[in-house]
């Protein structure tokens, strides 16, 4: 809203119209990426090499898939804190399915995703029908998912192996040596862009994030859209887990924990407003790459783990202070 108001104040000329197509936050996110690349190249000359960049993009793909789902939920004005264990569920269920015979091996990936969709639907029911705050609902679902997985694995590390298909899409290379994972992200991303910009679902998502009351009174099927958004987020998070399990050839306890904060950060750093209603996918892409690069640089600099966390938090706050601020009361 602050953005729109600022635009209106400038007099609503064609200049403002142009500005709407190029989000300043997205631009600055890409600018930061360039800056990071330059900083990284100071430490290591191979930082700017195509192999390294491609490797980075591959690693970013996992976060990218997860962040796509998170973005849709944040656009609604909600949040999905169940990502950590839905990711784990996706990975663990997919690898568990491979133990169910040849049919299981074929269906491993769909099984993993379906579990995520199921958990996402639970989130959706809580938010859309019970009108509970998404923060609590998703935290509760996260806890339940964790509980289920602890029971399922008996508390130990899961021993099931990933299916060949999972390994293929996560680690293989096709098409001119481009990593499959990156292709997968590209497909997911393209679908997300289409969904958000060209379908009634996408329009309704933005409308709900802007003003749910008005969307409701305009006859939009707000409950269905909210449910679908959470189902999508759950499915994508689980898919991310499937990819991770494919990459590592097996699932692991708490495999999704390192992805929650980066997913939210990536979405927000890309210019999507945490309050909903504003944001574009290109920004999320930029945010994901930015976060991934940041993590890489910190490890290249051989920064100790503690430094990584601190810099992480500081960078997010700094970016938000520039682009994510709210309005004053006297406005």
């Amino acid at each position: 809203m602050a953005d729109a108001e600022a635009t209106a104040r400038r007099g609503g000329t064609s200049r403002a119209a142009w500005r709407r197509h190029v989000d300043p936050a997205t631009l600055s996110a890409f600018g930061c990426i360039v800056a990071l690349l330059l900083v990284g190249s100071v430490y290591s000359s191979s930082f700017l090499s195509p192999e390294y960049l491609l490797q980075q993009l591959k690693v970013a793909s996992f976060l990218g898939v997860i962040a796509t789902g998170m973005m849709i939920v944040i656009l609604l004005g909600q949040i999905d804190l169940s990502v950590p264990w839905v990711v784990a569920v996706g990975g663990m269920m997919a690898t568990a399915a491979t133990g169910w015979g040849p049919l299981g091996v074929m269906l491993a990936i769909p099984v993993g995703i379906a579990c995520g969709v199921g958990l996402g639907l639970v989130n959706g029911v809580g938010v859309a029908f019970l009108r509970l705050p998404s923060m609590v609902v998703t935290l509760a679902v996260n806890a339940v998912a964790q509980g289920l997985m602890v029971v399922h694995t008996g508390g130990f590390s899961p021993q099931d192996a990933s299916s060949p298909a999972m390994r293929f899409i996560a680690t293989g290379h096709s098409l001119f040596g481009i990593p499959n994972a990156l292709l997968v992200w590209a497909v997911v991303g393209a679908a997300a862009v289409f969904l958000l910009t060209r379908t009634t679902f996408g329009r309704t998502v933005y409308a709900i994030g802007n003003r749910e009351r008005a969307a409701y009174l305009s006859g939009a099927r707000t409950r269905t859209v909210v449910m679908a958004a959470f189902a999508l987020s759950g499915g994508l998070a689980a898919f991310g887990g499937v990819l991770l399990a494919g990459y590592a050839s097996k699932a692991a306890q708490a495999m999704g924990d390192p992805y929650l904060l980066p997913a939210i950060a990536a979405v927000v750093l890309g210019g999507t407003s945490i309050l909903g209603g504003r944001g574009n996918y290109l920004g999320t892409v930029a945010g994901v790459i930015l976060i991934t690069l940041l993590q890489s640089i910190l490890s290249v600099m051989q920064m100790e783990e503690f430094g990584r966390h601190v810099i992480y938090g500081v960078v997010i706050i700094a970016m938000l202070l520039v682009y994510g601020r709210g309005r004053r009361h006297s406005d």
Binding site: V144, I274, F306, G307, H309, I316, I317, L320, L321, G324
Partner: protein
């Protein structure tokens, strides 16, 4: 004044329900405990409960202003690691160490508050990010678990009161309530915090000191989280920068707050309710042990309990007559 009771009941409804629920849970727990409720059992249970209760109080302060503090577990962990380094040695150095730990807690809370107030950032993202920073600091202090704590202080806080049977941690909890919560609650700033959480716009139009209220709420939240961290050090006699632990306590503090009748939208509820919510949550977790259920089921059980508590918030739907009320 005889006509007052219905109103007082209404005002403290959440807290009273939490209290009753806790009493029921604890009765079930105590009566089914294999060993029975002796001093040691009570002390162990009390220690765990009080730890969560203090963190829950910290969360309550922020939730009242319609914010959320996802860094509260990390501040606790930071305090834990710091305490394991400096709350040692002579009584004088121990005392100074304690003050330093509490000071760091206040600092963390103040940083959260300043970013939310002057940066006008949403509390949820702010505290996720600051939580990372505080965790990093904890990790810097304790790359591996270790450290120590002044033994007499630890024993005093985690043992029993002189006289033998009452856990000292309960006295600590009572002290915190008397020194921190009650004065805040009954001060103009505390009421301003409620006002801000209930309707920030109305608070502004009424000339309520919004910024001061939020700042004090976040500051005290940090203070309480550091007290919890200090207490944790006294329990474990060491410091550990465990992200899992921090996240768990953050999550459980939210559960305790919800169970304690504090509204996540802000403006209503009491830290005392959150205390009972925390104790209740801990007791439920221990019920599994008491009934000889496989501890493997504990995380699931606690998740289900959290979900059930969360669903209580949907009860308001039953009385809703105008669907527009559902859409803010």
């Amino acid at each position: 004044m005889s006509g007052d009771w219905p109103y007082r009941l209404r005002e403290h409804r959440g807290t009273l329900l939490a209290f009753l629920a806790f009493v029921v849970m604890f009765a079930i727990y105590a009566s089914n405990h294999p060993v029975g409720l002796n001093a040691n059992v009570a002390t162990t249970a009390a220690n765990k409960g009080v730890l969560l209760a203090i963190v829950a109080m910290a969360q309550t302060l922020v939730v009242l202003t319609s914010g959320i503090d996802l860094s509260v577990g990390m501040v606790m962990v930071l305090a834990n690691c710091l305490a394991s380094a400096i709350v040692v040695g002579s009584p004088r150095s121990t005392a100074l160490g304690v003050l330093a730990v509490l000071g760091v807690g206040c600092l963390c809370g103040a940083i959260n508050g300043l970013i939310v107030i002057y940066g006008r950032l949403q509390p949820i993202v702010t505290t996720i990010a600051t939580g990372a920073v505080y965790y990093g600091a904890a990790l810097a202090l304790r790359r591996v678990p270790g450290g120590d704590v002044n033994a007499s202080l630890a024993e005093a806080l985690t043992g029993q009161l002189p006289g033998g049977s009452v856990p000292a941690s309960l006295a600590l909890l009572l002290g915190v309530v008397l020194v921190v919560w009650l004065p805040f609650r009954h001060s103009a700033t505390g009421r301003a915090a409620y006002a801000v959480g209930s309707s920030e716009l109305a608070a502004y139009m009424s000339g309520v000191p919004i910024r001061r209220a939020k700042f004090v709420a976040y500051l005290l939240s940090g203070l309480l989280a550091s007290i919890a961290g200090l207490f944790l050090t006294c329990i474990t006699y060491s410091g550990e920068a465990s992200a899992a632990n921090g996240n768990t306590y953050t999550l459980y503090s939210i559960a305790a707050v919800v169970l304690g009748g504090v509204s996540l939208f802000g403006g209503s509820g009491s830290a005392i309710g959150a205390i009972f919510g925390a104790l209740m949550f801990r007791t439920i977790g221990d019920l599994l042990f008491v009934f000889n259920l496989d501890p493997l089921w504990q995380p699931l059980f606690q998740g289900v309990v959290l979900s059930a508590a969360v669903c209580l918030g949907a009860v308001r739907l039953l009385r809703m007559r105008n669907r527009l009320d559902l859409y803010g």
